[in-house]
Amino acid sequence: MTTVLRGALLSYKALFTWLNPLGYLSSRIVRPVGMAIAFISLSSYYGAAIGRMLIGSSLLAGAGAVIYGMALSVGNERSYGTLGTWLAAPQNKLAAACQRALPHIADGVFGGLWTYLACGLLYGEMPLGVLPFTGLLTLAVLTTAGFGLALSALALVVEDLFIGPNAAELVLMMLTGTLVPYDRLPGFLQPVSDVLPLTHIMAAVTDRLAGSGWNTRQLLTEAAVGAGWFVVSSCFLFWTVKRASHRTELA
């Protein structure tokens, strides 16, 4: 267990330049709050309740930390010139990718909670208590980690490190009901939304904010979506590791 945590922290330490913490502060503290302010203001300007947007933006902040972290924790092997060595090592790559995801899951919970509290104070409204929100956020970052595993795998085959996580972030912003209500999505996009992480959490949140109790069916569906992504992403990772291992040029 200690070895697992040590490896996870080592990977996490390599992501940011810790002697200069600007990278971390800028990416994980300032950016999500700035984006959340823009979107919550948008919601309030057009007369909608800000609660849904506050929760959606905060969940996205947590999810963003996970998808960027998981993509970069594998993709940076290429940037640092260590991809070949890592692929040649006997380490189980799926276990390694999961191990590297651990700090980003914790960081996602921290980032999402920070965004929720900062914006809640700024707008003087907190639609959910801190504990229920933390529970939702934890579920959100875990299901996003299943999706993020696919981005870890993609980083082995796509050389441009940021294309995958940038595109994934846009998809989560537009199609999961976090920033755009599910019923406002075009009909052909709704089935896509159904199989994305965060969608069912936002459905449960919408019900809850409308005065109903927690919709446990939606929350269980969210967990199932995360598990489904984990299975699909694991298969994808096996394929990309095999493909990358057979290539002679990795850099």
């Binding site: 600007l22 971390y24 800028s26 302010i37 203001s41 700024l122 912003m173 920033l179 406002r184």
Partner: protein, 249 residues
Amino acid sequence: MNATFLRSAADQLRMHAKSPMSTFMAVAFPCAFAFVIRSNAAEGHRSAELTADLSVGTAGIGMLDAIIVMVVFSLLGEKQWKTLYAALGSPGGLVPVVLGRLGGIVVQSLIALPGTFVVLALFWGIDSGFAWGRWLVGGVLLALATASVVGLLAVAVLRFPYSAGMTNGLTGLLMALSALIVPQSALPGPVRAAAFVLPQSHVMAWVRDGALGDIAAAVLLTVCYAVLVVLLVHRLEAAVRRKSVPLEV
């Protein structure tokens, strides 16, 4: 001075104008934001078609992203290619190189204006009251204003060692402060006060049927930020010469 400035601007366009990442940031990224804006606007009393403020605000998000990315890429390139000490030894110093790069980046970022307009107009149609003059003048002014503010980042990139991710927060922060997607009045109190000192918020106020005073404030603030950038580059030159602050990696 002028020749170096023009050469630096031309180099910027020659090297980065066709960058896929730049085009992605300038056109695709803001169109996704426009989708979010419009979906929320539909709950209010807004036109379902494209209006000038939505078009300029959307383009502004693309400009902001593209300008930040390009400033970092271009100046890190100058550092890696070890061209900065040569520029420092030339009669004009670093100022024409930095301003030339920023000038090229402004021209490059302008693709966001027609790029996002065409995409959004095709999807949603153009509102009958579309203010063409405000769209064009506001869009160009917004690019200049954004570049003058992000010019401060150029000084930071030149002065300090680059740390991965250090510029990521700027997009979110400036997007909120620039009043690109909602009027300044819709921002929470402390953010609204901070937005007042950014030229982009005044450009957007003018685009949203503002008065000439808004555009005058925007131009004045843009000039102030540009002068500040020049002064800071001069100060950096002095620090490099007197204290041997390293410029290149």
